[in-house]
């Protein structure tokens, strides 16, 4: 694939750029009887922990924060390897790439959940769920990282190994 590194770098940078708003802005607003406050991803996790739902909190933490972050960092690392021709264990790093490429789609879990909630819970004044600006940004991050993973050519890891 031509310009694999360049393209991957461009996508990964866009991913970083959108990762920030995805985490600082509210991802959704759940309102009951017209009253509700927007939740950020971290705010939602804190709320889950506070209401003693630790497993779900962990799941959301892993799926919504750690996985995208690790993906971004992993691809960045792979890019550096390919670009600066680091001497590494190419077999191990290829496996890392495969994991990243596989796990990418699972990060869409949050977005699926939000889109289902927005569609389902629309009871007007009684209760409703509204997606926030972070949802768009988050979806963009997931798509961009998937694209970045797709753009990356794992063969580059092998090219300069001695």
């Amino acid at each position: 694939m031509p310009d694999s590194v360049q393209r991957t770098a461009a996508f990964i940078l866009s991913g970083y750029a959108l990762y920030i708003p995805a985490n600082i802005f509210p991802i959704m607003t759940v309102s009951r009887f017209g009253q509700g406050e927007p939740h950020t991803i971290i705010g939602g996790i804190v709320a889950l922990v506070e209401s003693d739902m630790l497993p779900i909190a962990l799941l959301v933490l892993v799926a919504s924060i750690l996985v995208p972050l690790l993906k971004l960092l992993g691809i960045t690392l792979l890019l550096f390897c390919a670009h600066f021709r680091w001497q590494i264990n190419a077999r191990l790093w290829t496996r890392l790439y495969r994991v990243i490429a596989f796990v990418g789609r699972w990060s869409m879990l949050d977005i699926f959940m939000i889109s289902i909630l927005v569609g389902l819970v629309d009871l007007g004044g009684v209760a409703s769920v509204i997606a926030g600006p972070a949802a768009t940004a988050f979806a963009a991050v997931v798509v961009l990282t998937m694209m970045a993973a797709k753009m990356f050519d794992p063969r580059l890891l092998w090219d300069y190994q001695r």
Partner: protein
Amino acid sequence: MMDSDESFNTSEVKLNKKSELPLVWLLPLVALLVSGWLIYKSMSEKGPMITISFPTAEGLEVDKTKIRYLDVEVGKVTAITINDDLKTILVTAQMNSDAANYLNKNTSFWVVRPQVGLGGISGLGTLISGAYIEIKPSDGPKESHFIGLTAPPLLKNTDQGKQFVLETSDLGSMRPGTPINFHGINVGEVLSHELSKDADAIRLTIFIHAPYDQFVRKNTRFWVDSGIDLSAGADGFKVRTGPLISLLSGGIAFRAAANDGVKDIQPENTLFQLYETYDQSTQIIYKNTLRYVMYFNGSVRGLTEGAPVQLRGIPIGSVSNISLELDKKTAELRVPVTVELEPDRIREVNNQANVSDMDIMAQLIKKGLRAQLQTGSLLTGQLLVDLDFHPKSRIVETANDSVYPEFPTTTSSLDQFTHSAQIIMDKIAKLPLDKLSADIDHTLLALQETSKAATGMLATAKGTLSNTDKTMSSAQQVLKSLEPGSTTHYELDKLLQELNRAANSVNQLTDYLEQHPETLLRGKEEE
């Protein structure tokens, strides 16, 4: 070939790269722009942080409680802490950027909670949604720390109208929120009450909504419109009731005077008197008063403060003060009675310029106007001060050390009466009663003898009377014999007829002799 290929390829790739680079790198540029714009937007929406202290955090929740103005969210509570004095709480709130304009010194904050009162129910929405903090923008310099109100202010920001001040001696059931009625329409309410500076009156700040505020004019009267007014008069019983809400919680009513025009509309914060009852408010209040002090000689028992001062039976003032004075030098007791005269009650004819009421009074006093105490009611013994002309009475000056001029008095009719009665009693006391009784004794004895003699006389009289009786009966007999039908009567009748006939013959004779006087000599001529 390899080299040339490579160089060719490189140049081709370079060309490709040049054409492809901007396209790919456009993506992170757009992403950066979008996230940068998002962040900038949210940052710019955030306004200043403010702190508000409240006595309690009841119903307030971090990140949930909103700050609203006209039901539009303008901020959010971000933290609640306890103040250093451990008596109040401190609410930290993140305001929106557009709220920054009205975070001024006089801006007020209060917590809206559901309220149920006689005046109505408010804040029902907060039962479900939870309390929120309401803001009322105002002017003043910028401020970031506020002291929250404990109760919502009665006035909304949008209310148009005027504030006025009412003065009353007793707060009664007035409290903030007490309704004010104008012809039965609820047009305003009491905002607050405070003691006046001299602590002699209560001042109520009231608010009258537009357009009714224009009816508060120069002679507008306010009165307490609570409960039922029941009055009995010559025309029967009268019952006045205020609105039901006033019956329950008290109220104030006012009415405009008929002769006030638009030019008499009063400006904001004008002071009005609050009358206790409707009847009181209908009485005319004269502002122009003359005060005099009167020294009465006799007792003033029955004279009370507020007793009327009458001039020829028409009230022109009232007694404002009665006290007792002791002159330590002469050990003389005096009763100075201060009266308040209202000269405006007297309609003036032939008005003269440059003559004050005081001058006219002095003139009247010179003409003999005097004050005297009179009994107003024989039943209760209430006294009143009556002014009338006693041109003959002298003006007795008293050492007057009051601030008011003295009004000469004359002894009251009651005093005069008691005085005369005293004299009579004295005279009676001086009578020689012992001697009198001895004389009376003698007289009585003489009378006894007289009566004895009289008894004798009466017996004689009895004899005389029986004689008279006999005489009367004989007279009756005589009269009976003269009755028609009796012999005597017939005979008398006959006698009278004979006499008649005799008189006729004499008459004929005299006539004949008159015509033929010669017959006396020659005798009757034969026919």
